[in-house]
Amino acid sequence: MKLTLKIWRQKSRNDKGQFVTYTMNDVNPEMSMLECLDVLNETLIEKGEEPVAFEHDCREGICGSCGFMINGVAHGPERATTVCQLTMRHFKDGQELVIEPWRAKAFPQIKDLVVDRRAFDRIIASGGYVSISTGNATDGNTHLIGKDTSDRAMDAAACIGCGACVAACPNASAALFTGAKIAHLGILPQGKPEQDRRARGMVAQLNTEPFGSCTNIGECTGACPKEIPLEVISVMNRDYIRASWKKRDDDVRTVRPVTDWSLSSKP
């Protein structure tokens, strides 16, 4: 099949960037979107041009590395699908695909379709974990957890941190991501002891990063390849409001967002 790819090319963060149109005449409909870019990149390398930079790792939809906008929709037109799992047969022969990176102040541009998502790492580091004692592994079934509870936690834990929620949100808000982490850990007994501190810590870091606010419109959950429900945002709000009420001192600290690659030497 024939496709026209209009791809955002940008050499570096300070480069202005522009769309470049590539025509592909023999796209195999069974290829994934990333394999289609692989084929394009081979032809570019043969011609001595710079290949299109994009992030990828597992290519089976579970690592959260890949992702870009296709015709104005994060991860393309198929619901619950990452771009690595999106096969080309979902497009029409002769169609034009406009491909551009996630756009958000909190996700600074690195190159072409690659953006810096370290803001997510800082949010995780501010409370997205469970503190456990080291030593022998505890016996299985020490904590009895009901199926409905584990299902709810698992639904939230399915978040792969790809950033599609931020990309799809008109406000570039990371509420769905943060909510997924807070809900996933807070629902389970292992996460309960740190529930309040986690909510305050992660929400504080979320608000320190230049993300927008949630307006509860639901574009994020529509774009989410793991279909994280909007419910997790209300879990975040509930945990945060309760924890803010109960807190006894301002012990939570945030980390200043770092967007440079190296503070000491030039790359």
């Binding site: 769309f19 906008m69 015709n71 104005g72 929709v73 406009v98 551009e100 756009r103 958000a104 102040k105 909190a106 799809a168 008109p170 406000n171 570039a172 808000s173 305050r200 810590g201 929400v203 504080a204 979320l206 608000n207 320190t208 230049p210 993300f211 927008g212 606010s213 949630c214 307006t215 509860n216 419109i217 639901g218 574009e219 959950t221 529509g222 774009a223 429900p229 909007l230 419910e231 945002i233 209300s234 879990v235 975040m236 709000n237 509930r238 945990d239 945060y240 409001i241 309760r242 803010s244 301002d250 939570v252 600290r253 945030t254 980390v255 200043r256 770092v258």
Partner: protein, 230 residues
């Protein structure tokens, strides 16, 4: 603060409740709910116009006779309006700054029309409320007739007999309906209530309540224009 090592980046104080986007949204939810209660009370009171001039004017006198309580209600409402708008403006500026470079193409795939137009419906309703207060409470703007203090029935009927006043009223109240259609259920989400079984019902209820409120309000200018109330 401890000396920074290679792994600890700069540590800063956490944003307070009002500084956080989540806190502002909670404030917007609560103030929105207060204004929603007023809207219910106001439409219930206004619909007494269909029971004749005596009933409506008596209701107007009753509201003025309660004096101090009326001012308490007014102060709470004005504070709600100010907080609601302050939070909105601050969040809107933050949201705009959160995406400095926009998309060449962006498609909405999962959001309602009402939710995407909150930034439009809100300010237009605000302008309308100011106009509405100047017309029916203060009596400064009263095109087509003389404003008579205390004769609520006359003021309403004479006001709505001017066609553009009615059209503007119907337009603004319809936008209020749109605003409520998203706002009623969104407020629950902002204060932390969402349930897979209850929230779909809440969204349906929000639609029905918004529709009933809109129809309740616009039945008055329509009845006046059709000559059913004179």
């Amino acid at each position: 603060m401890s000396a920074s090592t290679a792994v600890t980046a700069d540590q800063n104080r956490a944003p307070g409740f009002w500084q956080s986007t989540n806190g502002k949204k909670a404030v917007m939810a609560v103030t929105g709910a207060i204004m929603f209660l007023f809207i219910i009370g106001h439409v219930a009171g206004n619909l007494q116009i269909f029971e004749g001039p005596d009933k409506l004017n008596a209701y107007g006198h009753f509201l003025h006779s309660i004096g101090e309580i009326l001012w308490v209600v007014r102060v709470v409402l004005i504070a709600s309006v100010i907080l609601h708008i302050t939070a909105t403006v601050q969040l809107a500026l933050r949201n705009k700054a959160a995406r400095p470079v926009g998309y060449s193409r962006k498609q909405a795939i999962n959001s309602s029309y009402a939710s995407r137009t909150m930034y439009w419906s809100g300010p237009i309703v605000l302008v309308f409320i100011i106009f509405h207060l100047l017309q029916f409470t203060a009596g400064y703007i009263h095109p087509g007739s003389q404003f008579i203090e205390g004769d609520v029935y006359h003021n309403v009927v004479a006001g709505f007999q001017v066609w553009w006043v009615s059209v503007w009223y119907i337009f603004a109240v319809s936008l209020l309906g749109l605003h409520l259609r998203h706002g009623i259920w969104s407020a629950f989400q902002s204060i932390g209530y969402n349930h897979p079984r209850h929230t779909p019902l809440l969204k349906k209820a929000a639609l029905i309540i918004a529709l009933l409120i809109t129809l309740g309000y616009i039945s008055i200018p329509i009845s006046v224009l059709l000559g059913l109330v004179k």
